[in-house]
Symmetry: C2
Subunit: 441 residues, 2 copies
């Protein structure tokens, strides 16, 4: 915690904004389960009287349009748990703060720890991390990367994890990665973190656009691209062939079914795409189906199985790892209970030796999740091998500190915070339903 | 569908009410994870212009207090999907209606199929069943019990189920149970359906109250009672001994930890209670932990493992059955996507030969879920063996058609509908925050 915060500073308000982008008009973001998403944010601002009222925490829950108002209502329902609390208390014990929201005995009935109420918790917890990092004058990844192992362990809620990961396990993982932290920070600052791009592969795009964007991606330095699949097998075979011809053999092509299939159809469909060497199949079926993912992985080796953007919480990730159901853990910055629960998931993945390749895109997900992967490299897994962060090149212009991707790498953020703060103009312009973009429609 | 509905009749409104009961003041409903619940309902009314405007569908989502406003907001967000639709279309194809809500490509991001948005769907779907049954002049259990197998199969969303249950499997189960349907209806009308009672066992009660209520329960004809456990091992051993001494050896005593434990502590704690012959351990750990339940069951045999009231959807139930993780499936009328998804779960349980013993209590859960168990007996499992519906004797006075329990049995409801309709006076009195009960506090 920054010594700049006086003991009397308090969180004075929790503001919530409903912000939506009319992305459905261009079929950006279209996939087999989300044909016409309007990428949206239930946006939260924690206001304080610290630093003369200038210290704020910003974060958001991402949705695909309708229902963003419900998500905003859930965030607003957390205000009584936050407003009035001393800034030093919240920012000085973010683990305790996160647990106080997650374990509320009445609110937890709405999950428990899943869906709307859990994403609301995640948004508020992430806003508290943003605030803490800004007060400390550091980007979140560095704030985390400089914490001693004991302090990191204190961030994690180990409830329901102890059959797979104990605090002692976590401490051992973190201590093992302590040597070399500084070298890895330097490497990140110099080279950034590897990215892959989903930009070429949205379902709504023509074959020509797909091939052109795929070639451009390789030209820009990406070594992995991703295609959406699952609407039509015939189309997918043609698109996969088109993409493979466009990029050649040395580039990884992941495919993403967005939960479209049952277990057997997932296996059959992917066998039909196998000749084009898909690197991983993402979200082949229900995100709740641990045993289904295990069966699909077993049948499809060596094609990797990836999931995570809709995994509700650490207990489901724990089981995906226990069951050997995934080759790739895809954390999402805005689905689970915030930075703290994602630390638990990073530690679980490290315990099981499975690489973490975050889901991103949406609104602000790239901006936030890069901090978690960079921290993972510095202080948890200690490696970049087979690790890539998803990159989608839209909506970044609305952020105060947008991600910078160059040469197929995320450049390490240097500005204080978690990165989710949006430009005031964008918040006004895209406010739903009364902002000018929407009132004009 | 009732021929009384003209083709032009429409759903004219979806009204939502926030109704809360200050149950925390008496520690009714207290357990290891819910120390002070205020039992609440996010209550929905579908209004129509059928039958001169007199045809309505009532249902609710149950919560434990704070957050009931969020649940109500989620139900309200479904109004555009419902209002204006022809009554005959909705009531004539409830399976299609349920799928249209569950599969909305934008709203599903909020779950998918879990938590606040899924409970909202369940409430609206259940209200449509209530409306349909009232128009048909039948209680829901009889409406279901008289449907031909093909029509029942059409109610079910088989997405993500086909590795465990196909439409053909479902048809076979239902056809196998067709002979004897009428005899079982007659048996229900004469004898009712077995119940067990949780009334003696709330954590907040003294040992004396526990013993007295346990003896009274046996005197009233119950052959199974349930105790809340998980806060203090010492207390639990004493309470379990007290209860066993009060009821003798012939009565089943189930215990319920409300998710309090990790896997290993669950096993250790239950071994300490084993000398008092607990019949089942309910919710020993996270409702998301399929593999954890399987490990607990394996370690604790012959003590049965039960769960369900917080199981998010049919995909998790499927896996609990596939993994051999449960001896008892506890459906809940208001947690999943309504009657339709509960039909899927009843069919899954029948496929795996596992008895269904519903969770009830709360607000209106007894009133609703009895229909599902009675239907299960008549047309799915065909048996009452080891089947009991939970019974808790509070808040029934607020319902227009409250459950009737006598001699340890639920008497079969005969009035049309699903049973969740509350008295207008109660809806006003307990309206939150402006009803007289709350404005006086």
């Amino acid at each position: 915690m920054s010594p700049a915060v006086s003991g009397s500073a308090r969180i004075t308000a929790l503001d919530v904004l409903d912000v939506r982008f009319p992305t459905s008009e261009h079929l950006d973001g279209s996939d087999a389960m989300n044909p016409e998403p309007d990428y949206s944010a239930a946006y939260v601002v924690l206001r304080t009287d610290a630093a003369g009222g200038g210290a704020e925490g910003h974060a958001l829950a991402f949705t695909t349009g309708r229902g963003n108002d419900v998500q905003a209502a859930a965030i607003a329902a957390l205000a009584p748990y936050v407003v009035g609390r001393p800034v030093a208390e919240v920012c000085g014990d973010l683990g305790g703060f996160a647990r106080s929201l997650v374990h509320d005995p009445q609110l937890r009935w709405l999950g428990p720890e899943k869906g709307v109420i859990h994403m609301a918790t995640g948004a508020v917890v992430n806003a508290a991390w943003d605030l803490t990092a800004k007060l400390a004058g550091k980007p979140v990844w560095r704030l985390l990367a400089e914490m001693p192992p004991e302090e990191l362990v204190a961030q994690v809620d180990f409830r329901w994890l102890s059959d797979a990961l104990t605090p002692e396990d976590a401490l051992e993982i973190l201590r093992r990665a302590e040597p070399g932290r500084e070298e890895r920070v330097a490497r990140l600052l110099e080279h950034g973190y590897p990215a892959y791009t989903t930009t070429p592969g949205w379902l709504g795009y023509s074959d020509e656009k797909l091939a052109r964007l795929a070639r451009e991606a390789v030209g820009e330095g990406f070594t992995q691209i991703k295609l959406k699949v699952g609407a039509s097998l015939e189309d997918d075979i043609r698109r996969m062939r088109t993409a493979r011809e466009a990029v050649g053999d040395g580039i990884r092509i992941a495919v993403d079914a967005n939960q479209r299939w049952d277990v057997r159809p997932a296996i059959d469909w992917m066998r039909a795409l196998a000749p084009y060497d898909p690197y991983w199949i993402e979200e082949p079926t229900s995100p709740d189906d641990i045993l289904g993912h295990a069966a699909i992985r077993e049948a499809l080796r060596p094609i990797r199985v990836a999931t995570g953007e809709h995994i509700a919480n650490r207990v489901v990730f724990k089981q995906l790892l226990q069951a050997g159901a995934v080759d790739v853990v895809q954390i999402d910055s805005a689905r689970v209970g915030g930075v703290n629960e994602n630390l638990a998931i990073l530690l679980l993945a490290a315990k099981f030796g499975v690489p973490v390749c975050p889901h991103a895109g949406g609104v602000g997900l790239c901006e936030m999740v890069q901090h978690l992967s960079m921290f993972d490299f510095v202080a948890v897994s200690g490696t970049l091998e087979d690790r890539v962060i998803e990159y989608v090149d839209h909506l970044h212009e609305h952020f105060v500190d947008p991600v910078r991707v160059a040469g197929g790498h995320y450049l390490a953020p240097t500005r204080p915070g978690l990165g989710a703060q949006m430009r005031p103009g964008s918040l006004k312009e895209y406010a739903y339903p009364d902002g000018p973009v929407w009132s004009a429609r």
